[in-house]
Symmetry: C2
Subunit: 190 residues, 2 copies
């Protein structure tokens, strides 16, 4: 729970009372490899902090599963669209490694916003961060060719890059594993 407190504290300052509240609202959960945090067709019922482990966000398109994001230790994870609107999600979030999370339900999250002194501000600041990353991701995928997108991935996710199989990286980069392999070969040449 220490890490979670630290992560929230990064955005807002927490009183002892706030910490107590957080302690009561979040629940520790364990995911084994291949367990789902969220499954396509269900509703995302929790917002979570990853204490350790690695998750993969994917979506099925024309029967093809595409990986579009990775979340790892010290990240917050959620399908906001589904969580916020209690809407059916098209996404799945699946453990690539055994993962420990601190999870909070929707209703508890609302309590967090109202009871923690700067709770709303935390929500806003966290979203500002993730939104900013999302925009940069959009621009990169708009602007950059596959090789550069791969390099972008390698620098954005340098800390977890060795823990992810090539074919998921290929999917994230938006190419086939064959193309990624070719791109990697060309990069070695240089």
């Amino acid at each position: 729970m220490q890490n979670l407190i630290k992560a929230i504290n990064h955005y807002i300052s927490l009183s002892d009372e706030d910490i107590n509240i957080i302690d009561q609202l979040f629940v520790k959960k364990e995911l084994k490899v291949n367990d789902s945090f969220l499954t396509e067709g269900g509703v995302c019922k929790e917002f979570a902090y990853i204490n350790n482990g690695l998750l993969r966000h994917c979506i099925i398109n024309n029967g093809e599963e595409e990986t579009f994001y990775f979340s790892t230790e010290y990240d917050f994870v959620c399908d906001y669209e589904s969580f916020i609107n209690k809407a059916i999600s098209k996404k799945s979030i699946i453990a690539l490694e055994d993962t420990t999370i601190y999870s909070i339900s929707y209703s508890n999250m609302q309590l967090f916003y109202s009871k923690v002194k700067f709770g709303e501000r935390f929500g806003r600041l966290l979203l500002e961060d993730v939104f900013t990353k999302a925009i940069n991701h959009i621009i990169s995928s708009h602007t950059d060719a596959a090789e550069q997108r791969y390099l972008n991935f390698m620098s954005s996710f340098s800390h977890i890059q060795q823990r992810i199989p090539q074919y998921y990286i290929a999917s994230f980069v938006g190419v086939t594993p064959q193309s990624l392999s070719r791109i990697r070969r060309q990069l070695v040449k240089k």
Copy 2:
């Protein structure tokens, strides 16, 4: 100012006092065609609501200008990354039409968050909306071929589609104007 109040009121309920505050914090501004709301290399010093008009978000890459978003009447507009961190922006936001905005400075925005009763919540809820759209955009550009991305554009921006030149649409879709022309021809055939 009526429209702005309505737009904020969509997310949070506003007291008369709140409305008074908003009235004092936002400033009406006019942009002529080709005027910039934000210029590359500068800092985004304002967050704004578009009362009427049309803006184009772009970024320069290898000397090539790429359009990656459009904002129009009833939208909020800002380069969050720059605004929040007072950081140099790589983006420009330029008027495609004469545009009227209600603008608020960074420091006034902080006053908004603290003085308007549910100000922080407004910030969070608005970001939840824009973030959700961003994610869907990422997934679409990840998943869909050019023709489908064009169709997605046509449905997401159906209300303003006729007001935007083809070459900006092509850029948004991520193809050359020649390719877009080809795609459009093929769609007509069908």
